[in-house]
Amino acid sequence: MVLRKSMRTPDVVVKKRPRLEDTIYTAKLFFKNRLAFVGFVITMIYFAIAVIDEVYPQWLGVSNLNSMANWVPALSSNVPTAPTLSHGWMYIFGTTQFLVPIFPVMLAALKFDIGYSLLIVTIGALFGLAVGTIAGYFGKIFDEILMRVTDIFFSVPFIVLAFAISYALGRSLNTVIIALIIIWWPIYARLTRGLALSTRSMKYVEAATASGSSGMRNVVVHVIPNVLSPVFVQISLDLGSIVQIFATLYFLSVIQGSQLLPELGNMISRGQTYLPQGIWWPVVIPGIFLLIFTVSINLMGDGLRDVLDPKLRR
């Protein structure tokens, strides 16, 4: 039975790669937002630096991070030197403790900061996504228990929790990373639980159940793809905050590691010892560098949120 020709809707151009087209449309919408575009470009530059540093460190001239002494050529004073153009590009932002040049170390620091943040956020997001969607979809007692657990995590300030965990396991960067992973997943669990709850009542999930789809399959096939985009937005926003938390924890000397570890938080907390002497650049310049990263990644995240809003796309 084929309906009368007149009842058919007019045919349209064949689309062979609909997913790609959809993505391109999303991208177009995204780049229309100028702030988001700027945020995106800056974030990409930061990421590029981190990647280059990992793959071809020599391009940045920061290959020998562990022997910082190499970087102290003709200068003989112990006091950090001011930003200057006269000693080549490495000294453009001056030097910090042990006369380590700020600019190359900042670049090198990105690898660690972005790497660690990605690690924490990815593990947190994956775990939180699993817990949240399952709790949201299956509900009942399971949901109650999981959500009360996340409540406990939410009720304790994360700094206190990080303190507790890292003092228990030893005050190193690694333990802090473990601590952050432990406190980071509840954010995602709560976020995805709410989304899964609303997705569960969608008729397409019911239609799948009526076709014999099991609960777990519904979660994987229908619920998770539909809650992913807000998760991505949250990830992008969190990347910025984790670097800030590192800085905070270094500042509070919760992390006690290598003095020479190129890490923005480490740099800022070490640089602040010179502040009373009026030597501002060891703190302010890495601070601004971090600020730019956080702001641009937030701009990008906001842009993503707008674009991925299904209301806008309809």
């Binding site: 058919r8 349209v12 019911e206 539909n226």
Partner: protein, 501 residues
Amino acid sequence: MASENSKRTLLYVSHLKKYFDVTTGFLKKAGYVKALDDVTFSLKEGETVGVVGETGCGKTTLGRTVLALTEATDGDVYFNLDSELMNKLIDLEERFYELNHKREKLPTEENELAEISKELIPLRNKYSLTRLKEREIRKYRKNMQPIFQDPFSSLDPRKLVKDIVSEPLKLLSDLDNDEISEKVGKMINEIGLSDDHLFRFPHEFSGGQRQRIGIARAIGIEPKMLVLDEPTSALDVSVQAQILNMLKEIQENRKLSYLFISHHLNVIRLMSDRVIVMYLGRIAEFAETNTLFTDMLHPYTKALLSAIPSIDPTKRKGRIILEGEIPSPSDPPKGCYFHPRCPEAMKNCGWSPRDMSEPLSEALDPFSDPALSVLPAISEIIEDENDNTLDIVFSTAITDQVRARELIVDALDKASKKANGIKFKAIKSVAFRTPDTLTIGMIEPDVPRLREVRKDHFVSCLIYDAGYNEHKGRKKIKKVTEENTANATENYENPDQARET
């Protein structure tokens, strides 16, 4: 309910109940909402049964429970069984409930009931969708598919049309991938879209087109029954006609049975062979479509049908505009759920203390009846649902109680003769308990059951109860009503000499 018909019964729903728990706080149960209460009907092969009712009447829950998308609280659903087995089950179920509902059973009946239970319970556990495990239900799913109302939430926005349409095929059929793609292509043409549409996302389609995709998904697996939950309510009139035509065509070509749920009576009339009218989780009336629309019996059906706006000005006369609102299903009225709004209510329809306190304070207001001004003011009226009584507390004690009682009985009598005064006829006794407290007793209400008033015409209304099993047509039934009302108590009794009416 197994009427003689050559067609095979595809679906039999027996006394289906679905109660939703109302929880407060941490897993604390506060009560329940009766979304479905004793719903019984059958659906034959190639037939459309329409389910119509207003918000909260349980029609959507009925669809979901039949499809085993939600667990039933009680009752059974038999679907797509061998016709001999199905008939046997229907007979057993009917006899079981008939005996079970009898208040006083003869010993022979007790024995029969025990025997039936012995035979029925293993069969229920083996065949009823409400008692099977999800794994066992799977083999029935291939033959029953849903179509939903909202074309925006019924298609996964992250999936391509081809993935959406092929999902049931992947899960329930034995076809391989190539065969599935071929089938999907065929389906999408059948519902009036083209192959190109397969590689698009749902948000690129209009409401009508989305509904077509939903239909393609449901019929691709070649089911025997579709449960259509308001399939055209979200669509425009001109598109609705296209979809309804298509559904009719599909039904004829594939010999499908439809359980067609809608609140649009006009669509129900167009599509259905038989119609169920639901009110607050119960079936009010169940009859062949034309009978229902031309010769309805239940007062609710009458009001519902007369409330439909009509294009034809000559059809607008005699409109019944119901008073009040649909009661909350979590706290439904006693007796017949419809009685507080029913224009034809009788005294035994379910009047209980909570229906009475406001009318009572009005009837006993000295402003409306100056004779009552000799009595002290009423300070409060206390409802007691368990005892089925009301206590009227006066501000001071009354010395001449005989006279006071006479006055009040007079006032109640007067009130019962006014419009909507039928509730006062449900008063059984009026007596002083203490010098300042007057107790008003109510008669015990009857609960209507769905009965076959005429051939294939089921009504759940006390008006027609006396005509049960007689099939004698309307005239006889009408008479019963008049007798019932004429029988109303002329005098209210003291409790010590209370009599059964």
